[in-house]
């Protein structure tokens, strides 16, 4: 077992990922060069669709971290952040991006050209504390950027009430007003409706893709989960819809022909929490023993179906739901989601990643573990690791 290892991809569409990722970052740099406003934002919220509808370029510093992990840049970024006084106990996403923007950003040899500097910062309160704090630090780092200080209700999915939605809609309107003022671009509501429709279509495709994972043998494993990159970065675009359609078609064909992602599927596993971005090869390690990770909690956060008849409200609801869906804000809902997935995907065992870089997803795992055992008789094992920092991952536990 190696401490850091890239995954082996077998799907034709997964093999296209390098191109898909490169094209996105190329587009970000082109936008900057052409004078299109570039805005940095946290993931899992409806701001992305607003940006695409207003022809603005969204950039996701949190998503840049897995890219850094894949390119082996994280140790250098951590060194910069920790040298500035950011504790090693803090989330790896936070330390990585903080180290990056104060270190190698703008340098000559940064893979994919790095990130273009932001003209806009969507500095939202809501989501997890590290996500919130990342943007507060970015405000400090990029003092010339226009800053939107958003405010989002922190509420469990099962407790969302009309006033939460009303406030989230109000915040979306505030964001539109801010973007209009900062960029001089007006939102075309017909264009927004189209973007939201495309976004919902991506989610529907993602649900369909996941449905093929129910097949035995599964035509896709977590080792290829990087395909969800388009769900993170390109929600609301035709590019996402086209790519996911290709993925869907490939999986459909494999499922119909009973072509498994491995030859001899013996065990079907569930993965809870964010994967080890520096060691996606871990999923292949299990596969050598005939065990395939066929479902995970993390991927669900990017697939929230929307009522496209009211685009703004739909985006507000999506924004409210995304983070609680996978975090300790809604332990009960998350537990039910895991149990449902384990039933539907015919899971034999669960791998619970106790993730030092992500308390919100790790908290509640003990309850999930117990429910799996008591309600479904599914055994599980806790893996101590960290989604970004390989110093917190010991191969000895295997």
């Amino acid at each position: 077992m190696e401490k850091t290892k890239k995954s082996t991809k077998r799907l034709a569409t997964a093999k296209e990922l390098t191109r898909v990722v490169s094209e996105f970052y190329l587009e970000c740099h082109q936008a900057k060069a052409e004078g299109k406003p570039v805005g940095w934002m946290p993931p899992m919220n409806g701001a992305i669709e607003l940006f695409y509808a207003m022809d603005l370029q969204p950039v996701f510093p949190e998503n840049w971290s897995p890219v850094c992990a894949a390119f082996g840049l994280t140790p250098a970024n951590f060194e910069v952040a920790e040298g500035m006084g950011y504790s090693q106990d803090l989330c790896g996403y936070l330390r990585n991006i903080v180290g990056f923007v104060h270190g190698m950003m703008g340098g000559d040899h940064v893979p994919l050209g790095g990130l273009p500097e932001p003209d806009l910062l969507v500095s939202a309160s809501g989501g997890c504390i590290p996500a919130m704090k990342i943007f507060q630090i970015m405000e400090h780092r990029f003092p010339d950027a226009h800053v939107f200080r958003g405010d989002l209700p922190q509420v469990a999915l099962e407790h969302i009430q009309p006033h939460h939605v009303e406030y989230a809609v109000h915040q979306m309107k505030q964001l539109i007003e801010f973007l209009t003022e900062a960029t001089g671009r007006k939102l075309d509501y017909d264009r927004l409706a189209e973007v939201v429709r495309l976004s919902d279509e991506s989610c529907a495709l993602w649900d369909e893709i996941c449905s093929y994972r129910r097949h035995v043998p599964t035509p896709i494993s977590a080792a290829e989960i990087g395909i969800m990159f388009v769900l993170v970065t390109r929600q609301g675009t035709q590019i996402a819809v086209d790519f996911l359609t290709k993925v869907r078609d490939e999986l459909k064909e494999r499922a119909e022909n009973k072509i498994g992602i491995i030859e001899d599927e013996k065990l079907r596993l569930f993965w809870d929490n964010i994967p080890l971005w520096y060691n996606m090869g871990l999923f292949n390690y299990f596969e050598k023993m005939g065990a395939v990770v066929v479902a995970e909690t993390y991927s669900a956060a990017w697939s929230i179906r929307m009522d496209t008849s009211d685009p703004l409200k739909a985006l507000a609801i999506k924004t409210l739901k995304s983070y609680p869906l996978v975090s300790c804000v809604s332990v009960e809902t998350r537990k039910e989601m895991v149990l449902k997935a384990c039933r539907e995907y015919k899971i034999d065992g669960a791998l619970l990643h106790s993730n030092k870089s992500c308390v919100p997803i790790t908290l509640g795992q003990a309850d999930i573990k117990r429910a799996l055992e008591e309600e479904l008789d599914i055994p599980s094992v806790v893996i101590d690791a960290d989604h970004m920092d390989d110093r917190n991952f010991s191969t000895a536990q295997f």
Partner: protein, 376 residues
């Protein structure tokens, strides 16, 4: 007339055995509602006829809690869960939490799934102060009041008015005591002073008000004895909860004097004392949106001038960050805060606390070095 130390003793007793305290209040016929963070609107809970009691953790060895939560959480949340699993809170009626950080919110849900209480409620607080933010907060408060009334805990305007008055008075007295402390006129050690504050967070407010009124009389008649400013380098203590009272002695023994703080077992619990408004619910809203900020709810650049102001008002010449280990909000703010404080001429030192306290020898050496560096 009782002496100051008599009053402090009652606060000390209230903290010594959280279970006994809750059991006693429950036996008196009152419902006890626990809370973790000072963003929980205690006035509303009190107006519903219950006694709000801040959940205690305290330095201890962790055993049971590790089975339900990872070890990389703040000691407060781990030790509080440990107590809960040991049955210390079995007579608690419920738990209410104003949303602050990931851990407090997540642990609320872990409690909900594992500690059988009659009532659980978490409310979302706005980060902003716009009219829409306040309207949203009002709806959250009304929602909480409705849920309480479903459990025969009605909140009337008159009761809320009364609760706001009593908590406002307690906070005003505490701010007066802080002023005395800034001026070196409070004859209490740091341990005694912070014991009073933590005691306030667990005792019924009616009793707290009596005790504080007694302390004020005692001070005004000088029955508390002469102020005994212990000397030492004046510092501002910045952090969240401090339950390990030994650290206060350690700071003083090492040559420091805590001139001010922004702890949530300290100044942050009392500032501002109250809010203005024509109706009680607006008074409540105004108070909480103006809450002296916790880093989970505000940016470092906003907090820095507040800390610098506190330091200037109190004469503090440096800042000791006393942090619960793994506390993301505080740890994240420290690099920016530290730089801004330094630019304002305030050096800083970071000390992390674990569930069994701090490493005394090592911490004492660091503190002594820090105080010596600042000079007399």
């Amino acid at each position: 007339m009782s002496s100051l130390s008599d009053y402090v003793s009652e606060f000390t007793r209230a903290l010594e055995n959280p279970k006994e305290l809750i059991d006693d209040i429950s036996r008196s016929g009152k419902k006890v509602v626990g809370y973790f963070c000072t963003y929980t609107p205690v006035e509303l809970i009190h107006a519903a006829g219950a006694v709000p009691v801040r959940i205690s953790g305290g330095p201890m060895r962790i055993d049971r809690a590790d089975r339900l939560a990872p070890s990389f959480l703040c000691p407060y949340m781990r030790t509080a869960l440990e107590r809960a699993l040991a049955g210390d809170f079995e007579n608690l009626f419920g738990l209410i939490q104003g949303y602050t950080c990931d851990v407090a919110c997540g642990m609320f849900n872990v409690w909900k799934g594992n500690i059988p209480l009659s009532f659980y409620h978490i409310l979302s607080l706005p980060y902003g102060e716009s009219p829409e933010a306040k309207l949203f907060f009002e709806k959250e408060l009304v929602n909480l009041a409705d849920r309480l009334s479903d459990h025969d805990m009605e909140v009337s305007d008159a009761a809320l008015e009364q609760s706001l008055d009593i908590y406002g008075e307690i906070r005003r007295i505490m701010q007066w005591l802080y002023e005395k402390r800034y001026d070196g006129e409070l004859p209490l050690s740091a341990r005694e002073f912070y014991t009073v504050i933590r005691g306030i967070q667990v005792l019924p407010p009616e009793r707290t008000e009596e005790l504080l009124a007694g302390m004020v009389s005692s001070l005004e008649s000088n029955a508390g004895g002469d102020a005994r400013n212990p000397g030492g380098t004046p510092i501002l203590l910045s952090g969240s909860l401090v339950e390990d009272m030994d650290i206060f002695d350690l700071i003083e023994r090492s040559g420091g004097r805590i001139a001010a703080d922004d702890l949530c077992t300290g100044f942050r619990h009392f500032d501002p004392p109250a809010g203005d408004g024509r109706q009680p619910i607006y008074r409540l809203i105004e108070r909480y949106v103006a809450h002296f900020p916790c880093p989970s709810r505000q940016r470092a650049r906003h907090r820095a001038p507040l800390l610098i102001d506190l330091a200037h008002r109190s004469g503090a010449r440096g800042v000791v960050f006393l942090i619960q280990k793994f506390c993301t909000p505080h740890l994240t703010d420290i690099p920016i805060l530290g730089r801004e404080l330094k630019e304002a001429g305030l050096p800083s030192l970071v000390i992390e606390m674990e569930e069994t306290g701090v490493m005394e020898g090592q911490t004492a050496t660091r503190l002594q070095g820090f105080f010596e560096m600042m000079g007399d």
